[in-house]
């Protein structure tokens, strides 16, 4: 039998164990976060500092690093771009275009793969994973050849459009997989009910199934948007016309040579480049975090 004193000892022991456990867990979580926080912290501090800093404390607070918002972007004293805004427009076009295309493709393809039985369905599903694991760089030359043949290489806006299509093509398979999971979780009975109530298959998809997997569509949109917003390789390879350069390309150009680098401007530029991603994420994180459908039955 355990005495009252014995219980007290046991409780004390349990408390110490709990404390040590927490310390270990939080250390493991926090240590990898340090470099990331340092990076972002420096970026923010530098963007508002008048001189080049190597700490997290901003010095000589100023907004002049953001000069490019109203005029040309200089690189080593010469204007590299006439204005900042076309870059934003191009990047937005690329990101939104990719998002739209990806959502349109994956919401239909995911439904088909989830709901229809057809020949080659399983091989298709498996090949998606395999193909996705092949680095996209491998396709660059082949795609270049295709673009050249159909006359889309070096054609300004049309080239940006083809980059959108390529990007959507590369992104879609994985998101189709992801959405298939969402479609799988919609009970058949709901779709049957819709059919009995007078829907065609397509109306049932549009009016009943799609609203239910909205969290999935939101997640796919965010991922597609961010991946389009950050795309560098495809833009670098295919877009030759400076009028259609994107932010990522401009950013890399601005860091070409160390002697010309204006750290303040670069930090400000990067901060603005980060902004949409942050805003998008903050607005939609609740969908990203609850990537499943809840509340069917009471």
């Amino acid at each position: 039998m355990i005495t009252a004193e014995g219980y007290r000892k046991l409780i004390w022991k349990a408390k110490i164990k709990w404390l040590i456990g927490n310390i270990i867990v939080y250390s493991i979580v926090c240590i990898p976060l340090v470099p990331i926080i340092l990076m972002y912290g420096w970026l923010i501090a530098q963007a508002f500092s008048g001189v080049c800093i190597s700490s997290l404390i901003p010095q000589k607070l100023t907004l002049k690093n953001f000069y490019f918002l109203t005029g040309p972007i200089y690189w080593g004293g010469t204007p590299l771009y006439k204005s900042y805004w076309p870059l934003v427009r191009n990047t937005l076009l690329l990101a939104l275009g990719t998002t739209g295309l990806v959502v349109a493709i994956t919401s239909l393809a995911g439904y088909a793969i989830s709901r229809f039985e057809f020949k080659g369905r399983d091989p298709l599903l498996k090949s998606v994973v395999v193909v996705h694991s092949i680095p996209g760089v491998l396709f660059l030359i082949a795609l270049m050849y295709i673009l050249n043949t159909i006359g889309l290489y070096g054609k300004g806006f049309l080239t940006l459009l083809s980059v959108i299509i390529i990007k959507a093509g590369l992104e879609s398979p994985m998101y189709t997989w992801m959405l298939k999971g969402f479609f799988d979780s919609v009970p058949w009975e709901l779709e049957w009910a819709a059919l009995v109530d007078g829907c065609s298959r397509f109306t049932a998809w549009r009016k009943v199934v799609m609203p239910l997997i909205f969290p999935g569509i939101a997640a796919v949109s965010i991922f597609a948007f961010l991946s389009g917003w950050g795309e560098y390789l495809l833009v670098l390879t295919y877009i030759t016309d400076r009028k259609w350069y994107t932010l990522s390309l401009a950013l890399s150009e601005l860091t070409y040579q160390f002697k010309h680098v204006d750290y303040g401007m670069l930090a400000a530029f990067s901060l603005l480049y980060l902004l949409p991603a942050m805003i998008f994420f903050l607005l939609t994180q609740k969908y990203l975090m609850t990537m499943r459908i809840v509340a069917y039955k009471g």
Partner: protein
């Protein structure tokens, strides 16, 4: 109003045969229950009637017209699912209005019809809620309303009561029955609960592993089960089955149950000999048809003697009191037999009782084919 006919209806999923050669006719305005354990093909049958599954073989007829190629949306059936299948993203009003909106009725008419059916089912005050905010019983009513609002020709219900608690189930059972009688819609009701089927349906079709076992009015199903499966499935507690064989001694016929023999009259013996495939039989008797007495009653004789009622002495094994009745478990040889006894008899475990077998209430089945022979 519509009469439904199923002709050689068969559905296979890969190698699994869900429904096998089902022939059934549901009369105009009839309440037909499809009864069977889970996985017996009753839901599949219903989905074929709704047009969601295409039959592998056979045809579905509405008013003698083959509707195999008619899509579900044009069949004008109302359906209630086990999970209710309410659209979680729509309010109750929109759920009920959904079929009408798809028909592109004018808004005023929709509002009027929804209100009417909602008031009829007493859910008028819930129209602004989302399905997640409703209780099971309320969701059930909304599902009913959604099926009713389009004024269907056929009403299909797939285990609509199985997600409700026991008390509400009894209430809704009566209400759905009343509703069906009042509206006179041809109704097909799928259930695994024999009490539901017995209490609600005009006729019951018992299915087992995709094959129709018997289709009859409830009384006939209870009194004259066509085979052991129906006999065991209808009635609670289930029918007692005792292995036996037909023997002849001194020109009299007996059912030999091992531990005792029952005398049977020549006409029954003739029937058995005519219908049974061999001498191995199964005696079926319902727990409520076995009378329990503490002494040998005057109208009965001991088992094996010439009498309409024959009694056998037995010892009580376990008692299951139900309040109104008590279920007595007793052993005849190695077989546990359940008997429903009135509360006036309150024996205790180990006590000796007399089990009275009434020849009129006995069912005899062929052990091999499981078919009733008497």
């Amino acid at each position: 109003m519509v009469k439904v006919k199923l002709e050689h209806l068969t559905k296979r999923f890969g190698k699994v045969v869900a429904v096998n050669d089902l022939n059934l006719e549901i009369k105009d305005g009839e309440f037909m229950a499809l009864l069977g354990p889970s996985g017996c093909g009753k839901t599949t049958t219903m989905l074929m009637i709704a047009g969601i599954y295409k039959p592998t073989k056979g045809h579905v007829y509405f008013n003698d017209v083959c509707v195999d190629d008619l899509p579900p949306k044009d069949r004008n059936v109302g359906m209630v699912f086990q999970s209710y299948a309410l659209y979680p993203h729509m309010k109750v009003f929109d759920n009920i209005a959904f079929p009408l909106k798809l028909k592109k009725l004018p808004k005023d008419e929709i509002r009027e019809k929804v209100k009417k059916v909602a008031d009829f089912l007493e859910i008028g005050h819930l129209l602004d809620r989302k399905p997640a905010q409703l209780s099971g019983g309320q969701m059930q009513r909304v599902a009913l309303a959604r099926a009713l609002v389009k004024e269907p020709d056929i009403f299909l219900m797939d285990e609509p009561l199985s997600n409700l608690d026991a008390k509400l189930r009894v209430v809704m059972r009566a209400e759905i029955k009343r509703l069906q009688k009042r509206l006179g819609i041809t109704t097909i009701y799928v259930t695994h609960d024999q009490v539901e089927a017995m209490t609600m349906a005009d006729r019951i079709a018992v299915l087992r592993e995709g094959v129709l076992q018997q289709c009859a009015v409830p009384d006939e199903l209870y009194l004259k089960p066509r085979n052991m499966f129906v006999g065991g499935f209808i009635g609670s507690p289930p029918m007692n089955f005792l292995d036996c064989s037909l023997v002849e001694e001194n020109h009299e016929h007996y059912l030999d149950l091992g531990v005792f023999k029952l005398w049977i009259p020549p006409d029954i013996a003739d029937l058995i000999m005519k219908n049974a495939s061999g001498s191995e039989l199964v005696l079926g008797i319902r727990p409520e048809d076995l009378k329990v007495t503490l002494t040998l009653p005057p109208e009965a004789k001991e088992a094996g003697q010439k009498s309409k009622v024959q009694a056998i002495r037995s010892e009580i094994y376990v008692l299951e009191p139900l309040g109104k009745d008590v279920i007595i478990n007793t052993k005849l040889g190695d077989t546990l037999v359940k008997v429903v006894a009135p509360p006036t008899i309150r024996p205790s475990v180990g006590e000796t009782i007399w089990l009275n077998f009434d020849l009129d209430k006995m069912h005899v089945f062929d052990k091999k084919t499981e078919l009733a022979v008497v």
